[in-house]
Amino acid sequence: MHHVVVGAGPAGVIAAEALRKLAPKAQVTLVGDEPEPPYSRMAIPYFLIKQIEEAGTHLRKTADHFAKRGIDLRQARVTALTPASRTLTLADGGQLAYDTLLLATGSRPVRPPIPGMDLPKVTSCWTLADARRIAATAKPGARVVLMGAGFIGCIILEALARSGAKLTVVEMEHRMVPRMMNDTAGNMIKDWCTSHGVAVHTGTKVDAIETKGDALRVVLNNGSAVDADLVVSATGVRPNIELLEGTGIATRQGVLVDRHLRTSDPAVFAAGDVAEGIDFSTGEYSVQAIQPTAAEHGQLAARNMVGLRGAVHRGSVNMNVLDTLGLISSSFGLWMGKAGGDAAELLNRERYRYLNLQFEDDVLVGATSLGLTQHVGVLRGLIQSKTRLGGWKRKLMHDPTRVMEAYLANTQALGFNATVLK
C-alpha cells in the first residue's frame, strides 16, 4: 500500500504522520516543492521580526524526523496527476504511483491585476523566500505599503510595524479584517493601528504601482499617492488546484470533498487550504484557509485513507486569532450572526474591549472578541459542542464574559460544598 501526500504544509505533514501511525506497514511518501524542510507559514511573521531563526518556522524540529518515521520526504514539483493509472508526474520527469493520494497543495497569494505588480520591490509574503526578501528591505525607517488588511495582511502588518518600518496599509473594504471581524471590531482595530502610528486607508484601492527613482510610488484611487521602498501584497489567497485540470476531479473554488474528505475520485483525498470542505456552522462547502482546519483535515483524511470507519467530517469551525500590535482579536463560527438569533454585546471603545456572542436559540453559534486572552478557546468549545445553554443563555445575554462558567456549568458535575460539610 502506498499513500502519497502532495504538499508539505501542516495538513500534509500531519496526514503523513497519522498515516504512518495508522498503517505501520504501508509506504508513506510526502512531496513538497519548496527547498526548505516542511515549515509553517504561520511562523513567518515571527521570522520576519527575528524573534526566531528560520529553523524556528520548521514544522518538525529534527532533521531526521521524517526519515526516522519511515516517511519518504521528497522535494519535487508535481506537474500532472493521472487518476486512471494512479500516478503523479514530477517536474524532473519521474513518476510516482499511489494507492491513495492526499492533495494538500495549499494555496497561494492572489495577484491583483494592477499595473506595476511585477516590479522587483513588490512582493507577496507567503514563502520563506518572500520573507527573506522582505526582511532585507523592511529595515527601521523603510517606507512600506501593505496592500490588503485581511487576516494574512494583518499578521504581516504586525511584523512589519514591529520591524520599525513606516507602514501604510491599503484595504479595499470599508474595515480591517472584513472576513473575520464585524464593522465594530474591524474599525476598532483600524483605530488601534492608527493610534500606534500605522497609516490605514480603508475603502481604498491601489490603482497602480510606479517607479520613482530608486523607490516606488503607490497610486491610490482616492487621488493620493504614497512613496514606498517596498510594497507587500496580501490581497488574498486561492487554492492550488491547477494540478486537477483535466483530471475530471470536481473542483469549485477548491477541491470538493465529501464528509470523508474524499474527492470525486475515490482514491484521491484533499485537506487544508486546497480543500473545499464542510463548514461546521453553515453546513456548506467552503475553503477555510486556516491552521486548525488544516490540522483537522490532515488527521481525518489520514484516517479515511486507511479505511477507518466512522471518520466522518462534521465540519470545521471557522476561527481566527490575530495580534495586531498587541491588540488581540478573535472570531469564531457565525460571528456575523444568524437570522432570527440573539446577540449579546459588550463594547468599550476607549479601552479597546469588545465581546460579541451570537446565539441560535440557546446555542452559541458565533463570537467576536477584542482584548480577550483568557479561556478564549471555550468559545470554540461551546460552538462546536452545540451545548444547549438553557438558563445560562440568559446569563450570557446579561454578561457575555462568563462563557467559561457557562461551559463548566453545562458540562461538568459541579456539586455544593455544603453537602461535603455535613
Partner: protein
C-alpha cells in the same frame, strides 16, 4: 499507570491556593493571573469550580500548533508547551475547546498545565482535597474525558 488531576468542585472553597502554587511553581511569583489552573466562581449559586487542562486525548492544542511547540511528555502524558519553540501565534488558544490554553502577554508565549512534570503543585497546595493527583482510572477523570470526547467528537 498515568496519573491525572482529579477535580472535585464540591470541595472547593475558592481560596486560590492552587492558583498561587501553580504560578509560584511555574513563574516563581505568587500571581493567580499566570496560573494554569483557575477557580471559577458561581456567586449566585455559592459554587466554586477549579478547572484546568484535562490532557485530553484529542490534544487539539498540540495538533493546531504550527511549530511543534506542544508535545506529549511521555512520563506524565501531559501536553507540554516548549516555551523556547512557541512563537506566540495563539492558534492553540482558540483551538482548545476547553479554554485551558492561555496567552501570556508578558512572555509572548502560551501557557497551559503540564502537571508540573508529575508532581502538580496545585494538588499539594489544595487545603480541602478538591484537587488531587491520582491514578487516572480511579477518577471521574475518564468520565470527564469521555464527556469531552462525546460533546466534541473529532470533526
Amino acid at each position: 499507570m498515568l496519573k491525572a488531576l482529579q477535580l472535585e468542585p464540591e470541595k472547593c472553597t475558592g481560596c486560590l491556593q492552587c492558583e498561587m502554587a501553580c504560578s509560584f511553581e511555574n513563574e516563581g511569583v505568587f500571581n493567580p493571573s499566570k496560573s494554569r489552573i483557575k477557580v471559577f466562581t458561581f456567586h449566585d449559586e455559592g459554587r466554586f469550580a477549579p478547572y484546568t487542562c484535562s490532557q485530553c486525548a484529542e490534544a487539539w492544542c498540540l495538533h493546531a500548533c504550527p511549530v511543534e511547540a506542544i508535545v506529549i511528555n511521555p512520563a506524565t502524558g501531559a501536553k507540554d508547551v516548549h516555551a523556547d519553540v512557541c512563537v506566540g501565534c495563539k492558534v492553540c488558544t482558540i483551538a482548545c475547546p476547553f479554554g485551558t490554553v492561555n496567552y501570556n502577554a508578558d512572555s509572548g508565549k502560551v501557557i497551559k498545565c503540564d502537571l508540573c512534570g508529575g508532581s502538580p503543585a496545585c494538588a499539594t497546595a489544595c487545603p480541602t482535597g478538591a484537587i488531587t493527583y491520582v491514578d487516572a482510572e480511579h477518577t471521574g477523570y475518564e468520565r470527564m474525558r469521555a464527556h469531552a470526547a462525546q460533546s466534541l467528537p473529532h470533526s
